[in-house]
């Protein structure tokens, strides 16, 4: 078998294994709950029959591996169970399916993340590469200092500064990003401008610094110097000598930051009251609505793992040392 295919398959298997273990970790969350949580969910006035029925519905009378198989089977079919909220002590069940809660919000979050990525990724790569090429110039220093400051500040600080200048002092954009499914695209972009800008600023800072470091590392390597000394034009050096080896670090940088977006989105959605999965998860944590929390955590973790996995695979596939084995 070609070494590339073998390495890719190995990585895929490892990724699946990780996903499996992560799902176990997330599932065992319920196991760690204190025993009387059914009462906490249903309220003090819950009758014994209601509590017993609820426990049976959760399958608490079965061993945990049976429940895990039930749960993961449901997840694979797109069924995350029903939410804890909306249950009453009297046994009347107004709870909703977790999928119905998450579905529209997942789309919103995807929209916000991709809108940010489309703007931020090219800009960050451009800034990083130019900063590396003109390193130690005034341009490089200004970009570096600004990004260091952005990295060290919490996301909500960046968010509120943007609100202060672009929403409160000069009302250019709305500070509440309340989109609904029937909002038209242009309006949706306009309303999500500030959250998207906040996220973009934060990930551009990270991505730019990492790209700069990767490129500088590469340009310092002896074979690039050799190519220069041979008298090749600088565009040829960059396109044919540097770039094949630069794909791996650049792709890694992009994937790492898109993964970072997954985490950053939580805080930013809360600041701008954007109806996304992050906000849903925070609300669910406050009300201790475990099925919703589990579903959100699984979605976030899976996105994170898949992004990192694809970065690994792309860097394996573009690695010249593996493509042309000796």
């Amino acid at each position: 078998m070609h070494p590339v295919i073998r390495t890719v398959l190995q990585r895929l298997a490892l990724g699946l294994m990780t996903l499996f273990f992560v799902s176990i970790v997330i599932f065992s969350g319920v196991e760690m709950l204190p025993g009387d949580f059914t009462q906490a969910v249903l309220g003090q006035a819950a009758t014994e029959e209601t509590v017993a029925a609820f426990r049976r519905e959760l399958g608490l009378d079965q061993p945990s591996y049976v429940r895990y198989i039930d749960w993961i089977g449901g997840v694979l079919r797109g069924d995350f169970g029903t939410s804890f909220s909306g249950r009453a002590a009297s046994g009347i069940d107004r709870s909703r399916d977790v999928v119905d809660l998450i579905g529209p919000r997942l789309w919103n979050t995807m929209f916000l993340a991709s809108m940010t990525a489309i703007v931020a990724v090219p800009l960050a790569l451009f800034l990083g590469i130019t900063a590396a090429l003109y390193r130690n110039s005034i341009y490089d220093r200004v970009v570096n200092a600004t990004t260091l400051a952005t990295i060290s500040t919490p996301e909500f600080f960046v968010a509120y500064i943007l609100i202060l200048f672009l929403a409160a002092l000069n009302p250019v954009f709305p500070s509440l990003a309340n989109v609904s499914p029937d909002t038209v695209l242009s309006e949706r972009i306009y309303r999500s401008a500030l959250p998207s800008m906040t996220l973009a600023l934060v990930i551009i800072a990270h991505m730019m610094r990492m790209t700069r470091a990767a490129i500088i590392n590469l340009l310092a390597s002896p074979y690039i110097e050799m190519a220069r000394l041979k008298g090749l034009s600088s565009s040829r050096v960059i396109l044919f000598h540097a770039l094949p080896n630069a794909w791996a670090p650049i792709v890694n940088v992009i994937a790492f930051n898109l993964a970072y977006l997954v985490v950053g989105v939580v805080v930013v959605e809360v600041v701008f009251v954007y109806p996304g999965v992050g906000q849903l998860m925070v609300d669910a944590v406050t009300t201790r609505d475990i099925p919703v929390v589990q579903a959100c955590a699984l979605i976030f973790a899976a996105t994170y793992i898949v992004l990192n996995l694809s970065a690994d695979i792309i860097s394996i596939v573009t690695n010249p040392r593996l493509l042309h084995p000796r």
Binding site: T18, F21, V22, V25, I26, G29, M32, L33, R135, L148, A149, S152, T153, P154, E155, F156, F157, Y160, I161, I163, L164, A168, L169, S175, I216, A220, A259, V262, V263, V266, V267, V270, V271, M281, V282, A284, V285, T286, R288, D289, I290, V293, Q294, C296, A297, F300, A301, Y304, I305, N308
Partner: protein, 305 residues
């Protein structure tokens, strides 16, 4: 031999090297530090002083409620009051104590757990190392903020569980680094000698390996502290971290956020929610500056060239 006037190279070379005290050596190093590092150290010491002497400096109590909610800046309340009439300045000062204290405790705990297991893995190798490393890999596959949110929903939001959860999640990063640097040391002959001498695991960890991996760990401590500090601030901001009435910078931003709408009419009021956020940002930047300098000094690690 030596002449009292003028410089003599022979004299200087002939001199026995003066033995400097620890204080003198530190001072010489500090004098060579770049201005950014100095700035960072000054900022950190100011924060620490404020945190230590909070009850003396603060004009009002931590949760003391005064009659006027949302009082403007100036007058009795330097930065005004919040939604139920608590003095913002006092809460900022007490916030330094709580926020920094909790972040420090968490970082220490993370180093204790992560560093301990890492040294154990590095020394014993074999299956212990394999099991611990794979376990850490799995924990690191979940974004830490998400994991922290999930665990907080299970254990409930209180300071103790907050500290434990963040410490355990962060110890994975400490584990990775410590194991990597310790691996280079455990293969040294003197560690082998200590093992043959029959020293126990604890002795080898503390006396043979730890002193030799201190510099990267100290730098990592600074960076970890920043990270923990930002995570706790984010969680408190989301309302699932440090709970009121304890003053904390993250939750203060959330509580006063609505004031920002009035920036057009009263700029000072509009800035109020940014004060605690700025306090967080300044401390993180300061720690970063100091860590940068420390790294450059101990490992000769430079940006490029």
């Amino acid at each position: 031999m030596s002449t009292s006037e003028g410089y003599s190279a022979k004299d200087e070379v002939g001199q026995v090297r003066t033995r400097r005290t620890w204080l003198q050596r530190t001072w010489i190093e500090l004098k060579k530090a770049p201005p950014t590092a100095w700035m960072g150290m000054i900022v950190i010491s100011v924060y620490l002083l404020v945190a230590l002497f909070a009850p003396i400096i603060a004009p009002y109590g931590e949760a003391e409620i005064t009659p006027i909610p949302y009082a403007p800046w100036g007058g009795d309340h330097f930065f005004g009051t919040d939604q139920i009439g608590r003095d913002i300045l006092s809460r900022l000062i007490f916030g330094a104590r709580n926020t920094i204290g909790i972040a420090l405790a968490t970082t220490f705990l993370a180093f204790l757990i992560g560093g301990g297991f890492a040294l154990m893995a590095a020394i014993s190798r074999g299956w212990v190392d394999q099991v611990l490393s794979r376990f850490v890999d799995i924990l690191m596959a979940i974004p830490s903020l998400i994991f922290a949110l999930m665990l907080l929903s299970i254990f409930g939001s209180n300071v103790i569980s907050l500290i434990c959860i963040i410490a355990v999640l962060d110890s994975t990063r400490v584990f990775r680094l410590t194991r990597a640097v310790a691996m280079n040391v455990v293969v040294m002959e003197y560690v082998e000698a200590a093992k043959l001498r029959g020293e126990g695991l604890g002795w080898i960890m503390r006396r043979e390996i730890l002193p030799n991996i201190m510099p990267p760990l100290v730098a990592e401590f600074g960076l970890r502290f920043c990270f923990v500090f930002l995570t706790i601030a984010a969680l408190s901001f989301l309302g699932v971290g440090i709970q009121p009435p304890t003053a904390d910078w993250g939750s203060m931003v959330r509580e006063n956020a609505s004031l920002i709408q009035f920036a057009q009419f009263d700029l000072k009021a509009g800035i109020t929610p940014l004060l605690p956020a700025a306090a967080i940002a300044i401390l993180t930047i300061a720690v970063n500056f100091v860590v940068d300098w420390f790294l450059m000094k101990t490992s000769g690690l430079r940006d490029e060239h």
